[in-house]
């Protein structure tokens, strides 16, 4: 029993304490959070815009008569559809590699490339979530807003989108958690994120158990923490109505 414990302790010291190897995990965690945070912002921005384009098109396709506005909307809707199809139809790792080796081959700002790749990827999923949220809002809400004198964009921004986001918050939280975990492929473009940090330690100590379990635990704790946070936020929002 004590032998087993001593062995564990030695492993721990070897993998995390010696040469300050814990720093690989800490720095990696920082990079993971940084990429996730900015990719999330980008993803939500792209997602909301695409969702508004798609649902505006769906709402007006039958009633709006042909004019410049309709032609532009039609074009934007077509572009959005291509974006959604391509992004959701290809693996995120491949998108990341294309972004790094082809589109930004001359840039060596890896974090920027990763944020862009993950943000653009996440935006496609956020778009469909937010669109379902917009569709779930009673059409009387838009009418009430317009009847007060708001234009379409104002009514969307002040009345529809806040309610839509609130309705799909759990789904958005899931997307955020997926995004956090998906950034673990950042190592493909030699970014030292959390996963890569664990991998580097293995390369130094030739023992896989401790670093991998530690990496897994850190992801798990993060996910549990964010799940709890979102639950709290949701309860606070819910207490405002009904």
């Amino acid at each position: 029993m004590t032998e087993w414990f001593n062995d564990l302790k030695a492993q721990f010291i070897l993998n995390f304490i010696n040469e300050g190897r814990w720093k690989y995990l800490l720095n990696g965690l920082g990079i993971t959070l940084e990429i996730t945070f900015f990719a999330l912002l980008l993803g939500i921005s792209i997602g909301v815009v695409i969702a508004i384009i798609r649902s505006s098109y769906d709402n007006t396709v039958e009633t709006m008569d042909s004019g410049l506005g309709h032609t532009i909307l039609k074009l934007l809707n077509a572009i959005s559809k291509v974006y959604l199809t391509v992004i959701r139809g290809t693996p995120v790792v491949v998108q990341l590699l294309i972004m790094y080796y082809i589109i930004f081959a001359t840039s060596n700002n890896k974090i920027f490339v990763a944020v862009l790749a993950f943000g653009i990827n996440s935006g496609a999923y956020v778009a469909e979530i937010v669109r379902s949220g917009i569709m779930s809002i009673d059409k009387g809400q838009m009418e009430a807003g317009r009847s007060l004198g708001f234009n379409y964009v104002q009514a969307m921004a002040f009345i529809i989108i806040p309610q839509a986001i609130k309705n799909v918050l759990p789904a958005l939280a899931n997307e955020f958690i997926t995004l956090l975990k998906e950034t673990s492929v950042s190592g493909y473009i030699a970014l030292q994120d959390l996963t890569k940090g664990g991998y580097i330690i293995i390369g130094r100590t030739y023992s896989a158990f401790m670093p991998l379990i530690a990496v897994a635990l850190i992801y798990l704790i993060l996910v549990m923490f964010f799940t709890w946070l979102v639950g709290k936020l949701e309860r606070r929002l819910r207490s405002n109505d009904h």
Binding site: E62, D138, Q141, E143, A144, R146, L148, G149, Q163
Partner: protein
């Protein structure tokens, strides 16, 4: 030029809304929802619109502020053709309040925010001014203590009174009501009608689609009977109810009175 045509109206400034040959044909429907509606609404008028289900009452009302886009005809509001795309419909809607059957309050906003949002964000009033007006209006409808409540915590009658205040906060020149009491429990109809009657007596121009004949008789200046997308009779309440001419109106009244 047909857009600035106050000269076209013999009664000049008194005319608030002029409707000529209004048509509405929904794309997915075979019948005409509106089939040539003409009427004039003057400042201070309280026009009550009645008629059987599907006769086009809501469509008519919703055309007045362009929530439905007419298929034909014209509507002039304060001398400007609202069907003319050159005129800014958002600006004109600021002067036309609308109250819906299903209230349509914004559930994510408090009563105060529901009321202040449009005047403040549209730059019609400063925030303090809007707050002051919100308090005043809530007082007038008997809901001063609900200023910080959320719509979800109000009864139907309270919701509709807040909805009326929300529309009034923009200082509209006309108020459009589409069956404002139809979604209410019977015991709450009175409180909403009282607010509307008060408004009518204060001189607000109103167009009201309703089944409440008592309201029409008490404060209406004119009653319109619609059927199959047409106005079949239009008269003062006394004549309209006391001496109905149209056959279908007579049979309709015999059923509802």
């Amino acid at each position: 030029m047909t857009t600035e045509n106050s000269s076209l109206n013999p009664r000049g400034k008194d005319v608030l809304i002029e409707v000529k040959g209004l048509q509405k044909h929904f794309k997915n429907s075979t019948v005409k929802a509106l089939d040539g509606v003409d009427t004039t609404i003057k400042r201070g008028d309280v026009v009550v619109v009645i008629g059987p289900s599907g006769s086009g009452k809501s469509t008519f009302l919703r055309c007045l502020n362009l929530l439905e886009v007419p298929s034909g005809g014209h509507i002039w509001f304060e001398g400007k053709d609202i069907t003319d795309k050159k005129n800014d419909i958002n600006k004109m809607r600021q002067k036309m309040g609308m109250v819906f059957q299903s209230f349509n309050l914004f559930p994510h906003k408090s009563v105060k925010e529901n009321i202040m949002m449009a005047p403040v964000k549209l730059g019609v009033m400063k925030k303090d001014e809007a707050t002051e007006r919100t308090k005043q209006l809530l007082d007038r409808v008997g809901l001063p203590d609900k200023i910080d409540a959320y719509p979800g915590n109000l009864s139907g009658g309270q919701k509709q009174r807040v909805a009326i205040v929300r529309a009034l906060a923009m200082n509209p020149d006309v108020m459009l009501f589409d069956e404002p009491t139809s979604a209410l429990d019977p015991e709450m109809i009175g409180e909403v009608l009282d607010v509307m009657k008060k408004l009518a007596r204060e001189g607000m121009t109103m167009v009201v689609v309703t089944h409440e004949m008592g309201f029409a008789k008490e404060v209406g200046t004119r009653v319109i009977f619609m059927d199959s997308g047409k106005i079949l009779e239009e008269n003062t309440p006394q004549e309209f109810f006391g001496n109905p001419q149209n056959e279908r109106l007579r049979s309709f009244l015999s059923k509802v009175l």
